[in-house]
Symmetry: C3
Subunit: 482 residues, 3 copies
């Protein structure tokens, strides 16, 4: 059956993919037309008025200059980081980086709308106003769906990925609203809202889409030398720019500054324990690129909540230390276990890079929040850091810690339940997903160039041409044909 399936050619997406792209993009045009406007710091008139009303004399006070360098780093992480991290398969690199490009480009537009409706809708004008912070948040929101893609890599069609993203962004906006607005949690780098949610969302979808005969494509489910190097580009850009990711929307001043330091230290520490466990796990102590590319990033995830808090430099290093160990063990033992026992196929191992470190990060954040004191932060600092104003003015730190922990659970729940529902939607036989023996194969959705080996050596080719020319006195036109 599996083999015949590929003859029916259900990877035909000539109608469905263009239809989805066009219809959804036209919807974006309409919805943006109705709802989206510049905010007061990007509007020409608005900014001039804002400066006057706030007695600002210098343009450098525009939020743009506080956020733009971080934004560009986050943007690189989304498109090159996630994209190239997923090029590690020997024959799915086009799909890895290409579909990542497609769904992120769609997701960020949809995210501006969804997050806008929940967080920035002006009740008077009925408009959403956007600025640089909105763009960062939109990129963040995409990340949830891109993480989910990691579990599905090579097994779904681009149309399915668009559906994953549509629902992923929608669910994200709702859980984010609950966690950040209703629970009033802090989660600058999204350990909860991005990584925990995205991780469990992807795992749940993959669990519903379980393919018992996936080993028909086993020959392609692995890397080659140069595809691992491409993946290393993605991994390093994620690793290097994670301090920007976690600090991109933290408080101006010491907040951003401290977040960068904490994330930087945790990531460095994580690299050493990753190398250690990777080496220990092999007979001769050889290292495994899968671990280096992935587990060394886990600390960035796990610092997603706590990095902006006063976790202290050595606290950060301890988090990194543990994450390298946990994540590498995950790749060694948990992913194979999940596949065998839970029938959960997780191509990139997002369980170990996002789901578990994200959950861990949520609880680390809860602990650090619960132990925050005025002595450490100063009175003013405590209020600023946790935004204890308005109706949250009297919240105690232990309450805050409790809400942070509850937020993590909400993220898990949204991921699992949402993922199962979306998984069932994706099982309709209309999405053009590949047959089991056609997984992990760019041939399914891409016009591929000829193989490298088919380049004839130049000199031989030329000599051949010349000899042929001399021997047979062929005309120039016949030469061109050969």
């Amino acid at each position: 059956y599996a083999t015949f399936k590929s003859f029916i050619d259900n990877t035909y997406i000539r109608v469905s993919l263009p239809a989805v792209c066009f219809v959804w993009q036209i919807a974006m045009v309409v919805l943006f037309g109705v709802f989206i406007r510049y905010d007061e710091e990007s509007d020409e008139k608005g900014w001039n008025e804002f400066k006057k009303s706030h007695n600002i004399t210098s343009n450098i006070e525009n939020d743009f200059y506080f956020r733009y360098p971080s934004f560009q780093d986050v943007h690189v992480m989304i498109f090159v980081g996630f994209g190239f991290l997923m090029t590690f398969l020997k024959r799915y690199s086009f799909g890895g980086v290409g579909f990542n490009f497609l769904i992120a480009a769609f997701g960020l537009q949809w995210a501006l709308l969804m997050q806008g409706w929940f967080h920035a809708l002006d009740p008077v004008t009925g408009k959403i106003t956007i600025g640089i912070e909105s763009l960062i948040n939109a990129d963040f929101c995409c990340a949830g769906s891109l993480i989910a893609y990691g579990a599905l890599l090579g097994k779904v069609s681009p149309v399915q990925l668009m559906v994953v993203t549509l629902f992923g962004v929608t669910l994200f906006a709702v859980e984010e609203y609950i966690i950040l607005d209703l629970f009033h949690c802090r989660d600058a780098g999204g350990a909860m809202v991005i990584h925990t949610f995205g991780g469990y969302y992807g795992l749940a979808i993959s669990w519903v889409l379980y393919r018992p005969n996936l080993n028909l494509s086993k020959r392609l489910n692995g890397s080659v030398y140069h595809s691992d190097l491409f993946a290393m580009i993605g991994a390093l850009f994620l690793w290097m720019f994670w301090p920007s990711f976690n600090s991109a929307i933290t408080n101006h001043g010491a907040g951003q500054h401290r977040t960068v330091i904490n994330t930087y230290l945790a990531l460095a520490s994580c690299v050493l324990t990753t190398f250690a466990i990777s080496s220990m796990s092999q007979k001769k102590g050889k290292l495994d690129m899968v671990h280096i590319q992935n587990a060394s990033l886990a600390a960035g995830v796990a610092m997603g909540t706590a990095a902006e808090l006063m976790i202290t430099p050595y606290g950060s290093i301890i988090v990194g230390f543990c994450c390298g160990i946990i994540s590498t063990f995950g790749y060694l033992y948990v992913t194979p276990f999940l596949e065998k026992k839970l029938k959960l196929q997780d191509t990139c191992g997002i369980h170990n890079l996002h789901a578990v470190p994200g959950m861990l990060g949520g609880f680390v954040g809860a602990i650090v929040a619960a132990t925050a004191t005025e002595e450490i932060y100063g009175k003013e600092g405590l209020i600023e850091t946790f935004d204890l104003t308005g109706k949250f003015e009297n919240r105690t730190m232990s309450t805050q810690g409790g809400y942070q922990a509850a937020g993590t659970c909400v993220a898990i729940a949204f991921g699992l339940v949402g993922g199962v529902c979306v998984g069932f939607i994706l099982r309709f036989p209309i999405w053009g997903d590949p047959a089991d023996d056609f997984c992990f194969d760019d041939e399914a959705y891409w016009e591929l160039p000829e193989d490298e080996e088919t380049i004839p050596p130049v000199l031989e080719y030329n000599n051949h041409m010349v000899n042929k020319h001399h021997d047979t006195h062929e005309s120039q036109f016949s030469l061109e044909e050969s």
Copy 2:
């Protein structure tokens, strides 16, 4: 004839390339010595005096902090973006990224001089003063010639490229002077001055250099799997950093802020329509990497003029929507048509990525400018945005729109006429360009490493060594020879 040509070996550049590099670089030393000085924000004494005279108390007001992050992004686009986008050919990746490196490094020095003479020459001292904005403009100016290189890729020698750049930068400075100074147009991201000019300049040169027997190198005029991935690195860095490109020299504050938002949205929208048209064009809906790498960038080009204006977020998305369609259609139908009917060989398809979207962007800018009102921008904002001071104080917005449209035409004219002239110069048989059967081949200008297939497997090799050792009782030294 074509075959014999390669025996005459006219790719000998051992004299011409070093001569051009040395002579022109020495000229740079002399001209920089005579003309170029630090401006008042980079000069030690000057900045201290500037701060006093302008009552500035903080160093953060130095233009450096407004522009430097964007500058570095633009720099990455010029060297990694353009460079790696041109590595897509299976055997011309060294030439793609390497010659791009050479001509950009030359071009930016020459640009500082040319743009300086036209825009920043102090009439009293006779000196050009440079700062961070000059560096951005120099990078921009190079971009024009790098775009032209895209049409010529694989068919010209590095010496010819130096000539293309010398004249390209010169022509750029003149048309820029006409468009920005005389016509007083706005063109922050250079839809007109960079992309329209660069696109038509390259196309005109390529048209003059038409090679009827180019299909002798047909076997090399295509990509392989990994060369397409390298090109994807270039494409993504261009795509991600295009908001920085368009905003790098816009007005401080809301100007830069808004330009980023507009470019970001247009690019995202463009990706979806590119994927849609690419999929629709193939029998089974398969995607083509050429489209993904190129057409998804067209929106950045088309927003080059309008991005800094109040085009509105949905206006930006509409521009992106159209560009993805137009550019992908260009790759599917127009480029083949141009080659067959107009005898115009355009290796990278700059017609669809730069020339047409640039022209489109010029006219979009004209329309948005013509419809600008005080209601939208505020009185102050309108004056600032269009710099309506001095002798342009009383210019109406419809006049401004007219000049913007006229500026686009000037850019086309300079590109076409300049390109034809330079093309004829390049036809002199002294430049070391490759024979028709030696195009698209790094062998012509690079010492290439041995082929990958020649790596002997380690264990076999070792066993072989050991056996040999055991069998023949050779000494260790003879082993070393083998």
Copy 3:
């Protein structure tokens, strides 16, 4: 003997590598716990107090906003720049980028401690406080050891590299203390403290570790087409971000601004002379990727000291001009000479990229410092630029120049003596270094994926499957096995 060595398999690092990683990382946790705290600009309470005590009204005055964009660029240079530059070998790309990742992640933690003890230890509290500038300095400090790795690439084990880094960072902190604090030199981009030291440190180690039979691995000591392209990614990110490297810790305002301009110009100039000499050196004028990847960076090194001074734009171009020539000649003649006559094997040619240009940069800096006048810098500017305060208030410029020259000599001495000592430590037969015929081979320390050629073509495979299916009427399960 050499051949047999590989049978003894001394690349077993399953105990030593994890042990070193764990023990040293635990030491980091403890030492960070005892010593490292946030500084007043990253501490929540501290920053609020700092703002009050300094009458600062805006968070934009936090040093974070002056330094962060440069920091991220430096971070990219350390991990992607150095890492990918070392992927050029055909079968040591994993080791190039992977071990670079490991030792940089360790080195930066150790550097924060070592540099902290020497420069930022609070005598009252006994604590080191860190901020964004500390992170930049830690990255800089790593660079010294990463440069040394360049000379050792392919010939040492990761455990040895950890030792190289441990001592490298320690020596760095001491020489830096002598040069910057005792001698009171200026060396923003580290021509002396980073490049001269790192270069000679690596060369001295490599000299002690000389392998007479290294040509047993000769077949792997070279590049392939795509490995050269990966290396080009590293080279370009180094080249593009070198202005950030040199300016990252210079004075706010005109200082950072000028440093960027000078470095940018010198690098551009260097590219042209590199291409010229590379082309001149080959019979047919063909270019060599080794030169392009390396020599074009030499100007960044050589501007390490002088870039922040008023060297003038044309002075910068002259430095770049000379560096391209000197460095390329180094690759052509000096490296082979060193190997044959001095028995010094320098895999990446750091002699020509770091040691010599760094030394040159130290002396250029000395000359530019010695010729500084109040007329050029202004009285205030001269004091600020050379920090002539406290006990250095009355230092003359010629004295400063003398100290700068002396500093260069200190860097050389530390590199050579330190390197020889570390080299002898590395000769203990306990570190798991590879046998002579196992050098330049990732097989020694990495689980490698199967070769690319082993991917069966999909269609053949499928047809094969189908035929098999039709012919033998096998069940679906038997299909799965095949």
